[in-house]
Amino acid sequence: MKKFVSLLLALMMALCAVGALADVAADIEAGQALSHDELVEKAKAESGTFVVYGNTSRISTAAEEFAALYDITVESNNLKDQEIYTKLRSENGNSAADMVMIQDGAQLTDAIDEGLVLNFVPAAVADVLDEADQQPALVHQYINKLFIYNNLGDNVPAIKNVWELTAPEMKGNVIFKNPESEKVNMNFLVMCTKDEWADKLAAAYEEWKGEAIDLGEYKNAGYKWVAEFLANVTFGKSDTSIAEEVSQETASGKIGLFVLSKLRSSSVLTDNLTVAQYDASAEGYEVKPFAGFMYPMYTMINTQATRPYTGMLFIEYLMTQEGFQPWGKSIGAYSPNAAITVNEGDLTIDVWKDTLVMEDAEYILDSFEVEDFILQHCQN
């Protein structure tokens, strides 16, 4: 039996593709120096179907328009972030993607270290974007998840301080997606325990209670808030269903923390919802110390790409006003390119950066023990 297994293994090794993979890194370096027309020419010279994985549904619209514009065959796939990382690790050429659009900066940092993906910054935006939006990975857009509440009835949870969410009477009235099922949610909770945010939470507590925070067994105010927040939370299935549920006539008193762009959905009763930060901006106060969180969606080239130039051309396209349109046409998506303005009625990215918790990949990657703590409080 053992002999048989080893024979089999040897056979498999022999079958392994030895076809040399094109050096994508060199291609990207070359691509960086090309003009738009040269890039188009190189992309068109690549054969076969160009494949994209993205964890945003609108990638399909962008891909269709890109395909029509340059007469290139494109196949776009909308997958969950985790599935994309799994596929990147396991697939080997052939059916794998040439390019990905992906969230979760912490995992992306790992993926870059592992050599799974490479960064490409189109020359057109290199001078326009902040350095942080270009390296180590190009940010295509920022997405925000906000405190949004049902505005019906006489117990409207119009919060001005996130500690209000920890009050006993809020138990079962706060709805959030399980941090285990989408990492950006976990990242947000982890970030609350970072000194910077923990200090702000401590100050906000004092403002709310009128007395200094008593940490008890908690390491800092961030841990305390996370624990007490999770104790009051009910987990919803998806951001869409949370938006739908909180918007119901029967859901007075409920508040959710979900993606702002879900308000566009025709299945959500948008009139019944109020965005906490919109109210705050209109009336000139702040939601202490944050009104939700925000995370980037990145574009990257697969190290195993067989059509890297098409990947670069698509990234170049996505960074233009036209390429951003599928997301930019409604609220809740923000280009790092200041030239691409936000929708009427929405707030600018600068306001959001001031009022929302942002990811710090380094801190998140070093904080697996914080995740254990969060898991514990997701259970009880």
Partner: protein, 608 residues
Amino acid sequence: MDQAQTRNFQASRLKGRLQAWFSKPANIILLVFLISLAVLTLYPLLSMLTETVTIHTGREARAAKLTAGSLSLYHFERLFATAENDYSWIQFYQPFLNTLIVSVAASVIAILFGGVVAFLVTRTNLKYKKFVSAVFTFPYIMPSWTLALFWETFFKNVNIGLKTSNGIMASVFGVFMPEWFVYGAFPIALVLGLHYAPFAYILIGGILRNMDANLEEAATILKTSRARIIWKITLPIVKPAMLSTFLLVFASSMSAYSVPVFLGSPVRYYVLSTKMKSLMDSYPGQAYIIVGVMILFGVAILLLNQKVTNSRKQFTTVTGKSGQISKISLGKANRPLAIILVIILLLVAVVPLITFALESVIIKAGDYSLSNMTLDFWIGTNLSERLDQGDSTGILLNPKVWNALVYSLGLAVTCALIAGTCGILVGYGVAKRRGSKLASWVNSLSFFPYLMPSLAFGAIYLAMSSRIPWLRGFLLLGLVGSVKYLPFASRSGVNAMLQLSGEIEEAAVITGVPWWKRMIRVIFPIQKSSFLSGYLLPMVSCMRELSLFVLLVPTSNTILTTMLMQYSEKGWAQFGNAINLLIIIVVLLINFIVNKLTGASIDKGVGG
């Protein structure tokens, strides 16, 4: 006799023995299957075991403070013996207990419900048998999470769960069900039990229908009471089928993922499979340990099962002698019993379909007025302008959907043909050589894929395929599906063959009829219904399979179920419900067509 002669003699004796051994088709079949199954199941198992001691890149290496790729028992220590933050209790022990409770309860529900209905349909003069028999398999045809979803939408109310909206039960009937009824262990076990009850119905019913009436008749002549006949004769005969059902349902429930997610998450009720999925993302080593634990449990039940079927006890139920089964008259209880059964079946099988149809035409959730309804999600165009949700055309006008449908069908037919045929051959080999080591190995190996949770099975094959360049796309999906569903076919194959008395084939053997002819002309026709269920079960399972294929499909638009999941996750409920209905309708159509052409169908495995 000198030495050379002795050697020659021994050699020729060995040759003769080998020739004799290989002249029996059963031996050749078993040997071929032993080798190929070892490759297709043991290799994934071995690679999975290595994963449990390997440190993976990323979060895992950082948390373990070890270099990626190194070998360590870190995962075991962490999963089983970490007291800090109650880690082990939360990640393993509590979900483990929950899994046991849910899986055992689901198995009992499936056996009781499926078994009783099978008995009523095959052995009594119950009314509306045709309807009962036809509808009973619906819950199995539907992806299991759809029943869970239905349960939630039907019973949810503002006092429980998200506490945001009322389902039909509360808004229409004013009945507010308590939380334990809608979320947690009870509904999870019930939904899984109902979903898998057709296993019991098919396996137990198949035996009840074909069993030799002589034993019961003898007992009747001896004036034995009905109850005693059932207890002493009927039950022992169906015992192997009951054990098979228990094994199937237990292993399926254990690895079921979507049902516990839908009905458990709102009350924070977690099971091993949900933990495995979330661990797979960041700590794959620990996730694979959980897979290992699930497999161990499955193997334990498998061994128990084997002890029963492999013992030399005879379970022959179909003999050369004819026998007319006497049907029990239910008398006055007939109509009320039939009506209760029909109502239950309508609730679990037909009402969900109506709900899906309804949910696929409404625009805003929860509003069932006519002004909120549209057929756009089926046949609309330019939807991205008007609804800003999902695709720009309704599913019936969307070429993506049609391509996926064709692909799904092709895949299901391929897997069914391969698995079904292999299942019959395995059944023949195992039954003929019953009691031999070879037979019991092949029997176990052919069942083994069932014990691997689909998601993990898919993940392992994905890793395997990355090393074999030609193993891609349809070929990969077809191979995985055939191996994964072989257990259904081999179970029904073995069960059917074990019922066959040797004398049936013997007459043909004596007159020198070749083996393949005996199979086609004698054995297949007798046990046609069991064998066909061996083809139909893989086919149906494949049509609605998700977790097995989710990592392996080239794109999420490749097959209908991955497309459906993508839509559900995006919250495009209407498209999702429409596709779900499409899947169910297609499978029902296939069942209907097969029924018209061959006279067999999933439920015909039982009769009615």
